[in-house]
Subunit: 281 residues, 2 copies
Protein backbone atom coordinates (compact mmCIF):
# COMPACT_ATOMS: atom_id res chain seq x y z
CA UNK A 1 0.00 0.00 0.00
CA UNK A 2 2.94 2.30 0.68
CA UNK A 3 3.92 2.09 -2.98
CA UNK A 4 1.15 4.53 -3.87
CA UNK A 5 2.56 7.11 -1.50
CA UNK A 6 6.21 6.95 -2.33
CA UNK A 7 6.91 10.43 -1.04
CA UNK A 8 4.70 10.03 1.98
CA UNK A 9 6.58 10.80 5.18
CA UNK A 10 4.89 11.17 8.52
CA UNK A 11 5.89 14.22 10.53
CA UNK A 12 4.90 14.98 14.10
CA UNK A 13 1.86 17.09 13.20
CA UNK A 14 0.58 14.40 10.87
CA UNK A 15 1.08 11.75 13.51
CA UNK A 16 -0.95 13.80 15.97
CA UNK A 17 -3.65 14.26 13.30
CA UNK A 18 -3.91 10.49 12.95
CA UNK A 19 -4.06 10.08 16.71
CA UNK A 20 -6.98 12.51 16.92
CA UNK A 21 -8.73 11.01 13.93
CA UNK A 22 -8.45 7.42 15.13
CA UNK A 23 -8.71 8.41 18.80
CA UNK A 24 -5.84 6.06 19.40
CA UNK A 25 -2.13 6.07 20.14
CA UNK A 26 -1.77 2.34 19.72
CA UNK A 27 1.20 0.67 18.05
CA UNK A 28 0.71 -2.99 17.19
CA UNK A 29 3.91 -5.01 17.66
CA UNK A 30 4.28 -7.43 14.75
CA UNK A 31 6.39 -10.00 16.59
CA UNK A 32 5.31 -12.85 14.37
CA UNK A 33 6.71 -16.12 15.62
CA UNK A 34 6.53 -19.28 13.50
CA UNK A 35 5.89 -21.32 16.64
CA UNK A 36 2.97 -19.19 17.81
CA UNK A 37 1.02 -18.21 14.72
CA UNK A 38 -2.14 -20.24 13.97
CA UNK A 39 -1.37 -23.63 12.48
CA UNK A 40 -3.62 -23.22 9.45
CA UNK A 41 -1.39 -20.41 8.17
CA UNK A 42 1.58 -22.76 7.84
CA UNK A 43 0.06 -24.04 4.61
CA UNK A 44 0.39 -20.64 2.92
CA UNK A 45 3.42 -19.55 0.86
CA UNK A 46 4.59 -17.01 3.41
CA UNK A 47 2.93 -17.73 6.78
CA UNK A 48 4.60 -14.81 8.56
CA UNK A 49 3.47 -12.26 6.01
CA UNK A 50 -0.01 -13.81 5.78
CA UNK A 51 -0.31 -13.51 9.56
CA UNK A 52 0.87 -9.88 9.57
CA UNK A 53 -1.41 -8.98 6.67
CA UNK A 54 -4.49 -10.29 8.43
CA UNK A 55 -3.46 -8.62 11.71
CA UNK A 56 -2.96 -5.31 9.93
CA UNK A 57 -6.29 -5.56 8.10
CA UNK A 58 -8.07 -6.35 11.35
CA UNK A 59 -6.48 -3.64 13.50
CA UNK A 60 -5.82 -0.79 11.07
CA UNK A 61 -8.89 1.13 12.24
CA UNK A 62 -7.52 1.28 15.79
CA UNK A 63 -3.75 1.64 15.29
CA UNK A 64 -1.51 4.57 14.36
CA UNK A 65 1.71 2.56 14.12
CA UNK A 66 3.02 -0.94 13.44
CA UNK A 67 6.31 -2.19 14.83
CA UNK A 68 7.87 -5.42 13.59
CA UNK A 69 10.66 -6.54 15.91
CA UNK A 70 13.43 -7.38 13.45
CA UNK A 71 14.80 -10.29 15.53
CA UNK A 72 11.73 -12.36 14.70
CA UNK A 73 12.43 -12.01 10.98
CA UNK A 74 16.21 -12.22 11.19
CA UNK A 75 15.93 -15.55 13.01
CA UNK A 76 14.31 -16.98 9.87
CA UNK A 77 17.19 -16.12 7.55
CA UNK A 78 16.76 -14.75 4.02
CA UNK A 79 13.07 -15.73 3.82
CA UNK A 80 12.43 -13.80 7.03
CA UNK A 81 13.82 -10.66 5.40
CA UNK A 82 11.47 -11.15 2.49
CA UNK A 83 8.50 -11.46 4.87
CA UNK A 84 9.67 -8.28 6.60
CA UNK A 85 9.90 -6.38 3.32
CA UNK A 86 6.40 -7.49 2.31
CA UNK A 87 5.13 -6.50 5.75
CA UNK A 88 6.52 -2.98 5.67
CA UNK A 89 5.18 -2.56 2.13
CA UNK A 90 1.77 -3.55 3.43
CA UNK A 91 1.66 -1.20 6.44
CA UNK A 92 -0.88 1.50 5.54
CA UNK A 93 0.68 4.84 4.70
CA UNK A 94 -1.34 6.66 7.38
CA UNK A 95 0.41 4.52 10.01
CA UNK A 96 3.98 4.92 11.21
CA UNK A 97 6.12 1.89 10.34
CA UNK A 98 8.77 1.24 12.98
CA UNK A 99 11.68 -1.18 12.56
CA UNK A 100 12.43 -2.34 16.09
CA UNK A 101 16.03 -3.13 15.30
CA UNK A 102 18.03 -1.54 18.14
CA UNK A 103 20.98 -0.97 15.80
CA UNK A 104 23.97 1.28 16.37
CA UNK A 105 27.61 1.10 15.24
CA UNK A 106 30.50 3.38 14.28
CA UNK A 107 29.53 6.15 11.85
CA UNK A 108 30.15 4.56 8.45
CA UNK A 109 28.52 1.34 9.60
CA UNK A 110 25.43 3.02 11.06
CA UNK A 111 25.02 4.63 7.64
CA UNK A 112 24.67 1.15 6.16
CA UNK A 113 22.06 0.17 8.74
CA UNK A 114 20.18 3.40 8.05
CA UNK A 115 20.25 2.66 4.34
CA UNK A 116 18.97 -0.88 4.96
CA UNK A 117 15.94 0.21 6.96
CA UNK A 118 15.13 3.67 5.59
CA UNK A 119 16.05 3.38 1.93
CA UNK A 120 15.89 -0.29 0.95
CA UNK A 121 12.94 -1.21 3.16
CA UNK A 122 11.38 2.26 3.47
CA UNK A 123 10.55 2.15 7.17
CA UNK A 124 9.47 5.48 8.70
CA UNK A 125 11.34 4.91 11.95
CA UNK A 126 13.97 2.71 13.57
CA UNK A 127 14.90 2.03 17.19
CA UNK A 128 18.57 2.81 17.89
CA UNK A 129 20.80 1.79 20.84
CA UNK A 130 22.72 4.75 22.31
CA UNK A 131 25.77 3.07 23.87
CA UNK A 132 28.21 4.04 21.09
CA UNK A 133 27.24 7.72 21.21
CA UNK A 134 26.71 10.54 18.78
CA UNK A 135 28.43 9.28 15.63
CA UNK A 136 26.51 6.00 15.92
CA UNK A 137 23.15 7.85 15.99
CA UNK A 138 23.71 10.77 13.61
CA UNK A 139 23.78 8.74 10.36
CA UNK A 140 20.16 7.72 10.98
CA UNK A 141 19.21 11.40 11.38
CA UNK A 142 20.63 12.23 7.97
CA UNK A 143 17.57 10.67 6.31
CA UNK A 144 15.13 13.54 6.05
CA UNK A 145 11.64 12.90 7.30
CA UNK A 146 12.61 9.62 8.97
CA UNK A 147 12.53 9.02 12.73
CA UNK A 148 15.13 7.77 15.19
CA UNK A 149 13.63 6.19 18.30
CA UNK A 150 16.46 6.17 20.82
CA UNK A 151 16.51 3.62 23.65
CA UNK A 152 16.35 5.62 26.89
CA UNK A 153 14.83 3.60 29.73
CA UNK A 154 13.78 0.20 28.43
CA UNK A 155 11.00 -1.97 29.87
CA UNK A 156 13.03 -5.06 30.79
CA UNK A 157 14.57 -6.06 34.16
CA UNK A 158 18.09 -5.44 32.82
CA UNK A 159 17.20 -1.78 32.34
CA UNK A 160 18.37 -1.38 35.94
CA UNK A 161 21.92 -2.55 35.29
CA UNK A 162 23.35 0.45 33.44
CA UNK A 163 20.46 2.82 32.71
CA UNK A 164 19.96 3.42 36.44
CA UNK A 165 23.58 4.08 37.27
CA UNK A 166 23.89 7.58 38.67
CA UNK A 167 26.52 9.95 37.37
CA UNK A 168 28.49 12.39 39.53
CA UNK A 169 26.08 15.16 38.64
CA UNK A 170 23.26 13.06 40.10
CA UNK A 171 21.66 12.03 36.82
CA UNK A 172 20.72 8.54 35.73
CA UNK A 173 22.39 7.32 32.56
CA UNK A 174 19.02 7.16 30.81
CA UNK A 175 18.60 10.85 31.64
CA UNK A 176 21.98 11.60 30.10
CA UNK A 177 20.79 9.77 26.98
CA UNK A 178 17.64 11.89 26.87
CA UNK A 179 19.66 15.11 27.28
CA UNK A 180 22.10 14.08 24.57
CA UNK A 181 19.28 13.00 22.25
CA UNK A 182 17.76 16.45 22.53
CA UNK A 183 21.09 18.04 21.61
CA UNK A 184 21.35 15.81 18.53
CA UNK A 185 17.82 16.00 17.17
CA UNK A 186 14.56 17.92 17.30
CA UNK A 187 11.24 16.46 18.48
CA UNK A 188 10.42 16.12 14.78
CA UNK A 189 13.28 13.69 14.22
CA UNK A 190 13.56 11.73 17.42
CA UNK A 191 11.42 9.82 19.91
CA UNK A 192 12.56 7.98 23.04
CA UNK A 193 11.85 4.43 24.15
CA UNK A 194 10.51 4.61 27.71
CA UNK A 195 9.32 1.38 29.28
CA UNK A 196 5.71 1.66 30.44
CA UNK A 197 6.80 -0.65 33.25
CA UNK A 198 8.54 2.31 34.93
CA UNK A 199 5.23 3.98 35.80
CA UNK A 200 6.69 5.98 38.66
CA UNK A 201 9.32 7.62 36.47
CA UNK A 202 7.26 8.65 33.47
CA UNK A 203 6.24 11.98 34.91
CA UNK A 204 9.86 13.02 35.51
CA UNK A 205 10.92 11.76 32.08
CA UNK A 206 8.17 13.87 30.52
CA UNK A 207 9.57 16.90 32.30
CA UNK A 208 13.03 16.17 30.87
CA UNK A 209 11.69 15.98 27.33
CA UNK A 210 8.43 17.91 27.21
CA UNK A 211 7.94 17.86 23.44
CA UNK A 212 9.26 14.51 22.27
CA UNK A 213 7.12 11.54 21.47
CA UNK A 214 7.77 8.47 23.62
CA UNK A 215 7.38 4.91 22.40
CA UNK A 216 6.22 2.90 25.40
CA UNK A 217 6.44 -0.89 25.41
CA UNK A 218 5.30 -2.88 28.42
CA UNK A 219 1.51 -2.51 28.45
CA UNK A 220 -0.09 -5.94 28.08
CA UNK A 221 2.08 -9.02 28.60
CA UNK A 222 4.63 -7.02 30.63
CA UNK A 223 1.91 -5.68 32.92
CA UNK A 224 2.07 -1.87 32.89
CA UNK A 225 -1.03 0.21 33.58
CA UNK A 226 -2.32 2.14 30.57
CA UNK A 227 -4.21 4.69 32.64
CA UNK A 228 -1.29 5.63 34.89
CA UNK A 229 1.19 5.74 32.04
CA UNK A 230 -1.08 7.95 29.94
CA UNK A 231 -1.83 10.31 32.77
CA UNK A 232 1.84 10.77 33.62
CA UNK A 233 3.27 10.83 30.11
CA UNK A 234 0.86 12.64 27.83
CA UNK A 235 1.59 16.11 26.48
CA UNK A 236 -0.49 18.53 24.41
CA UNK A 237 0.19 16.61 21.19
CA UNK A 238 -0.41 13.30 22.93
CA UNK A 239 3.35 12.64 22.76
CA UNK A 240 3.11 8.92 23.20
CA UNK A 241 2.69 5.73 21.28
CA UNK A 242 1.88 2.66 23.32
CA UNK A 243 3.06 -0.64 21.94
CA UNK A 244 1.19 -3.87 22.47
CA UNK A 245 2.26 -7.05 20.74
CA UNK A 246 1.50 -10.44 22.30
CA UNK A 247 -1.76 -9.34 23.96
CA UNK A 248 -3.14 -8.40 20.54
CA UNK A 249 -1.55 -10.65 17.96
CA UNK A 250 -1.87 -13.83 20.02
CA UNK A 251 -5.25 -13.02 21.61
CA UNK A 252 -6.31 -16.20 19.86
CA UNK A 253 -4.03 -18.71 18.18
CA UNK A 254 -6.88 -20.34 16.26
CA UNK A 255 -8.56 -19.47 12.97
CA UNK A 256 -10.29 -16.50 14.59
CA UNK A 257 -6.96 -14.84 15.48
CA UNK A 258 -7.56 -11.72 13.37
CA UNK A 259 -11.01 -11.13 14.82
CA UNK A 260 -9.65 -11.66 18.34
CA UNK A 261 -6.81 -9.23 17.63
CA UNK A 262 -9.31 -6.69 16.37
CA UNK A 263 -11.31 -6.97 19.59
CA UNK A 264 -8.22 -6.46 21.76
CA UNK A 265 -7.06 -3.50 19.69
CA UNK A 266 -10.55 -2.02 19.82
CA UNK A 267 -10.64 -2.38 23.60
CA UNK A 268 -7.33 -0.54 23.94
CA UNK A 269 -8.49 2.12 21.48
CA UNK A 270 -11.64 2.76 23.50
CA UNK A 271 -9.61 3.29 26.65
CA UNK A 272 -7.23 5.52 24.72
CA UNK A 273 -10.08 7.63 23.38
CA UNK A 274 -11.21 8.34 26.93
CA UNK A 275 -7.64 9.03 28.11
CA UNK A 276 -7.03 11.45 25.24
CA UNK A 277 -10.15 13.38 26.27
CA UNK A 278 -8.95 13.50 29.82
CA UNK A 279 -5.21 14.13 29.60
CA UNK A 280 -4.27 15.44 26.15
CA UNK A 281 -4.67 19.15 26.59
CA UNK B 1 34.81 -25.88 5.35
CA UNK B 2 33.11 -25.70 8.73
CA UNK B 3 30.71 -28.44 7.64
CA UNK B 4 33.39 -31.06 8.23
CA UNK B 5 33.73 -29.97 11.84
CA UNK B 6 30.12 -29.63 12.84
CA UNK B 7 30.91 -30.05 16.52
CA UNK B 8 33.98 -27.92 16.37
CA UNK B 9 33.84 -25.14 18.93
CA UNK B 10 36.77 -22.96 19.78
CA UNK B 11 37.50 -22.52 23.46
CA UNK B 12 40.01 -20.18 25.02
CA UNK B 13 42.83 -22.72 25.20
CA UNK B 14 42.34 -23.67 21.55
CA UNK B 15 42.33 -20.04 20.52
CA UNK B 16 45.62 -19.51 22.32
CA UNK B 17 46.99 -22.62 20.61
CA UNK B 18 46.15 -21.14 17.22
CA UNK B 19 47.73 -17.83 18.21
CA UNK B 20 50.97 -19.58 19.13
CA UNK B 21 50.91 -21.77 16.04
CA UNK B 22 50.26 -18.94 13.59
CA UNK B 23 52.25 -16.43 15.67
CA UNK B 24 49.37 -14.04 15.11
CA UNK B 25 46.43 -12.51 16.92
CA UNK B 26 45.03 -10.94 13.78
CA UNK B 27 41.32 -10.78 13.00
CA UNK B 28 40.47 -9.81 9.43
CA UNK B 29 37.36 -7.64 9.24
CA UNK B 30 35.25 -8.78 6.30
CA UNK B 31 33.50 -5.46 5.69
CA UNK B 32 32.82 -6.18 2.04
CA UNK B 33 31.28 -3.17 0.36
CA UNK B 34 29.79 -3.44 -3.13
CA UNK B 35 31.14 0.03 -3.93
CA UNK B 36 34.71 -0.77 -2.91
CA UNK B 37 35.39 -4.31 -4.05
CA UNK B 38 37.35 -4.73 -7.31
CA UNK B 39 35.21 -4.11 -10.39
CA UNK B 40 36.05 -7.41 -12.08
CA UNK B 41 34.25 -9.30 -9.29
CA UNK B 42 30.93 -7.68 -10.15
CA UNK B 43 30.61 -10.12 -13.05
CA UNK B 44 30.49 -13.12 -10.70
CA UNK B 45 27.26 -14.62 -9.30
CA UNK B 46 27.91 -13.45 -5.76
CA UNK B 47 30.58 -10.71 -5.80
CA UNK B 48 30.57 -10.23 -2.02
CA UNK B 49 31.15 -13.90 -1.30
CA UNK B 50 33.72 -14.19 -4.09
CA UNK B 51 35.60 -11.26 -2.58
CA UNK B 52 35.49 -12.75 0.94
CA UNK B 53 36.51 -16.18 -0.31
CA UNK B 54 39.62 -14.83 -2.02
CA UNK B 55 40.47 -12.66 1.00
CA UNK B 56 40.14 -15.66 3.31
CA UNK B 57 42.23 -17.90 1.05
CA UNK B 58 44.93 -15.23 0.87
CA UNK B 59 45.10 -14.38 4.57
CA UNK B 60 44.26 -17.64 6.33
CA UNK B 61 47.89 -18.38 7.10
CA UNK B 62 48.18 -15.15 9.11
CA UNK B 63 44.77 -14.79 10.77
CA UNK B 64 43.15 -16.45 13.79
CA UNK B 65 39.72 -14.85 13.33
CA UNK B 66 37.42 -13.38 10.70
CA UNK B 67 34.80 -10.79 11.51
CA UNK B 68 32.11 -9.83 9.01
CA UNK B 69 30.33 -6.65 10.08
CA UNK B 70 26.70 -7.61 9.60
CA UNK B 71 25.61 -4.10 8.50
CA UNK B 72 27.45 -4.54 5.22
CA UNK B 73 25.39 -7.63 4.42
CA UNK B 74 22.11 -6.42 5.87
CA UNK B 75 22.28 -3.32 3.66
CA UNK B 76 22.05 -5.64 0.63
CA UNK B 77 18.79 -7.28 1.69
CA UNK B 78 18.06 -11.00 1.36
CA UNK B 79 20.96 -11.61 -1.06
CA UNK B 80 23.32 -10.05 1.49
CA UNK B 81 22.23 -12.60 4.06
CA UNK B 82 22.97 -15.37 1.60
CA UNK B 83 26.46 -13.97 1.03
CA UNK B 84 26.95 -13.80 4.79
CA UNK B 85 25.88 -17.41 5.26
CA UNK B 86 28.25 -18.60 2.52
CA UNK B 87 31.03 -16.53 4.10
CA UNK B 88 30.65 -17.98 7.58
CA UNK B 89 30.48 -21.47 6.07
CA UNK B 90 33.77 -20.75 4.33
CA UNK B 91 35.67 -19.44 7.36
CA UNK B 92 38.20 -22.16 8.24
CA UNK B 93 37.33 -24.10 11.37
CA UNK B 94 40.65 -23.26 13.04
CA UNK B 95 39.66 -19.58 12.94
CA UNK B 96 37.12 -17.88 15.17
CA UNK B 97 34.14 -16.58 13.19
CA UNK B 98 32.74 -13.39 14.70
CA UNK B 99 29.41 -11.83 13.72
CA UNK B 100 29.91 -8.13 14.36
CA UNK B 101 26.22 -7.48 14.90
CA UNK B 102 26.03 -5.39 18.08
CA UNK B 103 22.65 -6.90 18.91
CA UNK B 104 20.80 -6.78 22.24
CA UNK B 105 17.09 -6.72 23.16
CA UNK B 106 14.75 -7.93 25.90
CA UNK B 107 15.28 -11.56 26.90
CA UNK B 108 12.96 -13.46 24.58
CA UNK B 109 14.07 -11.33 21.65
CA UNK B 110 17.79 -11.70 22.33
CA UNK B 111 17.14 -15.45 22.24
CA UNK B 112 15.98 -15.05 18.66
CA UNK B 113 19.08 -13.08 17.71
CA UNK B 114 21.24 -15.71 19.39
CA UNK B 115 19.47 -18.42 17.42
CA UNK B 116 19.97 -16.50 14.17
CA UNK B 117 23.71 -16.12 14.59
CA UNK B 118 24.73 -19.16 16.63
CA UNK B 119 22.35 -21.84 15.42
CA UNK B 120 21.18 -20.89 11.94
CA UNK B 121 24.43 -19.33 10.77
CA UNK B 122 26.79 -21.17 13.14
CA UNK B 123 29.02 -18.24 14.06
CA UNK B 124 31.43 -18.88 16.96
CA UNK B 125 30.96 -15.41 18.45
CA UNK B 126 28.79 -12.32 18.29
CA UNK B 127 29.28 -8.73 19.44
CA UNK B 128 26.55 -7.61 21.85
CA UNK B 129 25.54 -4.09 23.01
CA UNK B 130 25.21 -3.84 26.81
CA UNK B 131 22.74 -0.95 27.24
CA UNK B 132 19.70 -3.14 28.02
CA UNK B 133 21.53 -5.09 30.74
CA UNK B 134 21.70 -8.65 31.98
CA UNK B 135 18.58 -10.20 30.47
CA UNK B 136 19.58 -8.84 27.06
CA UNK B 137 23.01 -10.52 27.24
CA UNK B 138 22.28 -13.82 29.03
CA UNK B 139 20.38 -15.50 26.16
CA UNK B 140 23.54 -15.40 24.06
CA UNK B 141 25.46 -17.10 26.88
CA UNK B 142 23.02 -20.00 26.90
CA UNK B 143 24.63 -21.39 23.73
CA UNK B 144 27.38 -23.62 25.04
CA UNK B 145 30.80 -23.13 23.54
CA UNK B 146 29.83 -19.89 21.81
CA UNK B 147 31.29 -16.48 22.64
CA UNK B 148 29.70 -13.16 23.59
CA UNK B 149 31.89 -10.16 22.79
CA UNK B 150 30.45 -7.35 24.86
CA UNK B 151 30.93 -3.72 23.80
CA UNK B 152 32.88 -2.05 26.59
CA UNK B 153 34.90 0.93 25.35
CA UNK B 154 34.43 1.26 21.60
CA UNK B 155 36.90 2.84 19.18
CA UNK B 156 34.74 5.64 17.77
CA UNK B 157 34.53 9.31 18.81
CA UNK B 158 31.03 8.77 20.29
CA UNK B 159 32.55 6.34 22.79
CA UNK B 160 33.08 9.45 24.95
CA UNK B 161 29.40 10.36 25.17
CA UNK B 162 28.15 7.71 27.58
CA UNK B 163 30.95 5.21 28.10
CA UNK B 164 33.09 7.91 29.75
CA UNK B 165 30.41 9.19 32.10
CA UNK B 166 31.58 8.74 35.66
CA UNK B 167 29.34 7.14 38.27
CA UNK B 168 29.13 8.23 41.87
CA UNK B 169 31.57 5.53 42.87
CA UNK B 170 34.09 7.07 40.51
CA UNK B 171 33.90 4.44 37.80
CA UNK B 172 33.40 4.99 34.10
CA UNK B 173 30.33 3.39 32.57
CA UNK B 174 32.53 1.15 30.42
CA UNK B 175 34.18 -0.07 33.64
CA UNK B 176 30.75 -0.89 35.08
CA UNK B 177 30.06 -2.88 31.92
CA UNK B 178 33.31 -4.80 32.35
CA UNK B 179 32.51 -5.54 36.02
CA UNK B 180 28.99 -6.69 35.15
CA UNK B 181 30.25 -8.79 32.25
CA UNK B 182 32.56 -10.64 34.61
CA UNK B 183 29.66 -11.37 36.97
CA UNK B 184 27.62 -12.77 34.08
CA UNK B 185 30.21 -14.87 32.29
CA UNK B 186 33.59 -16.52 32.60
CA UNK B 187 36.63 -15.66 30.46
CA UNK B 188 35.74 -18.79 28.48
CA UNK B 189 32.39 -17.34 27.41
CA UNK B 190 32.97 -13.64 27.06
CA UNK B 191 35.38 -11.15 25.51
CA UNK B 192 35.23 -7.36 25.60
CA UNK B 193 35.42 -4.86 22.76
CA UNK B 194 38.10 -2.33 23.67
CA UNK B 195 38.97 0.29 21.07
CA UNK B 196 42.68 0.21 20.26
CA UNK B 197 42.32 3.97 19.80
CA UNK B 198 42.22 4.33 23.61
CA UNK B 199 45.88 3.41 23.95
CA UNK B 200 46.29 5.19 27.27
CA UNK B 201 43.49 3.20 28.93
CA UNK B 202 44.32 -0.31 27.82
CA UNK B 203 46.65 -1.00 30.71
CA UNK B 204 43.98 -0.10 33.28
CA UNK B 205 41.30 -2.09 31.42
CA UNK B 206 43.61 -5.11 31.46
CA UNK B 207 43.87 -4.76 35.22
CA UNK B 208 40.06 -4.72 35.51
CA UNK B 209 39.73 -7.92 33.51
CA UNK B 210 43.03 -9.79 33.74
CA UNK B 211 41.91 -13.03 32.10
CA UNK B 212 39.42 -12.04 29.41
CA UNK B 213 40.22 -11.77 25.75
CA UNK B 214 39.78 -8.31 24.26
CA UNK B 215 38.73 -7.68 20.68
CA UNK B 216 40.48 -4.49 19.63
CA UNK B 217 39.37 -2.57 16.57
CA UNK B 218 41.08 0.66 15.55
CA UNK B 219 44.51 -0.45 14.32
CA UNK B 220 44.93 0.52 10.67
CA UNK B 221 42.47 3.01 9.18
CA UNK B 222 41.55 4.34 12.65
CA UNK B 223 45.23 4.91 13.49
CA UNK B 224 46.01 3.07 16.75
CA UNK B 225 49.54 1.85 17.44
CA UNK B 226 49.90 -1.94 17.40
CA UNK B 227 53.06 -1.94 19.51
CA UNK B 228 51.65 0.21 22.33
CA UNK B 229 48.32 -1.60 22.39
CA UNK B 230 49.99 -5.02 22.52
CA UNK B 231 52.42 -4.00 25.23
CA UNK B 232 49.67 -2.60 27.43
CA UNK B 233 46.99 -5.19 26.78
CA UNK B 234 48.60 -8.58 26.47
CA UNK B 235 48.29 -11.24 29.15
CA UNK B 236 49.86 -14.68 29.56
CA UNK B 237 47.45 -16.24 27.05
CA UNK B 238 47.87 -13.32 24.68
CA UNK B 239 44.34 -12.18 25.61
CA UNK B 240 43.80 -10.05 22.57
CA UNK B 241 42.59 -10.20 19.02
CA UNK B 242 43.38 -7.18 16.88
CA UNK B 243 40.95 -6.43 14.10
CA UNK B 244 42.00 -4.86 10.85
CA UNK B 245 39.56 -4.46 7.99
CA UNK B 246 40.02 -1.69 5.44
CA UNK B 247 43.84 -1.66 5.63
CA UNK B 248 43.89 -5.32 4.58
CA UNK B 249 40.88 -5.98 2.40
CA UNK B 250 41.20 -2.76 0.38
CA UNK B 251 45.00 -2.70 0.26
CA UNK B 252 44.43 -2.86 -3.48
CA UNK B 253 41.11 -2.46 -5.26
CA UNK B 254 42.41 -3.95 -8.50
CA UNK B 255 42.75 -7.54 -9.67
CA UNK B 256 45.69 -8.07 -7.32
CA UNK B 257 43.53 -7.32 -4.23
CA UNK B 258 43.98 -10.78 -2.66
CA UNK B 259 47.75 -10.72 -3.05
CA UNK B 260 47.86 -7.17 -1.63
CA UNK B 261 45.67 -8.27 1.31
CA UNK B 262 48.01 -11.19 1.91
CA UNK B 263 51.01 -8.86 2.06
CA UNK B 264 49.33 -6.53 4.55
CA UNK B 265 48.19 -9.43 6.74
CA UNK B 266 51.67 -10.92 6.58
CA UNK B 267 53.22 -7.60 7.65
CA UNK B 268 50.93 -7.41 10.67
CA UNK B 269 51.58 -11.06 11.51
CA UNK B 270 55.34 -10.49 11.49
CA UNK B 271 54.98 -7.60 13.93
CA UNK B 272 52.65 -9.71 16.06
CA UNK B 273 55.11 -12.58 16.16
CA UNK B 274 57.74 -10.25 17.58
CA UNK B 275 55.28 -8.71 20.06
CA UNK B 276 54.17 -12.15 21.27
CA UNK B 277 57.81 -13.01 21.99
CA UNK B 278 58.23 -9.80 23.88
CA UNK B 279 55.02 -9.35 25.87
CA UNK B 280 53.13 -12.65 26.07
CA UNK B 281 54.58 -14.20 29.19
Amino acid sequence: MRGFFYFYLMNRAQLFEQIKKKQSYLCVGLDADMEKIPRHLLKTDDPIFEFNKQIIDATREFAVAYKPNVAFYESLGATGWESLQKTVDYIPSECLSIADAKRGDIGNTSTLYARAFFKNMDFDAITVAPYMGEDSVKPFLAFEGKWVILLAHTSNPGSEDFQLLETRSGKFIYEEVIFAGQRWATPDQMMFVVGATHEEKIDSIRRLAPDHFFLLPGVGAQGANLEVVSKEGMNQQCGMIINSARAIIYASTKEDFAEAARKEANKLQQSMSRLLDEYCR
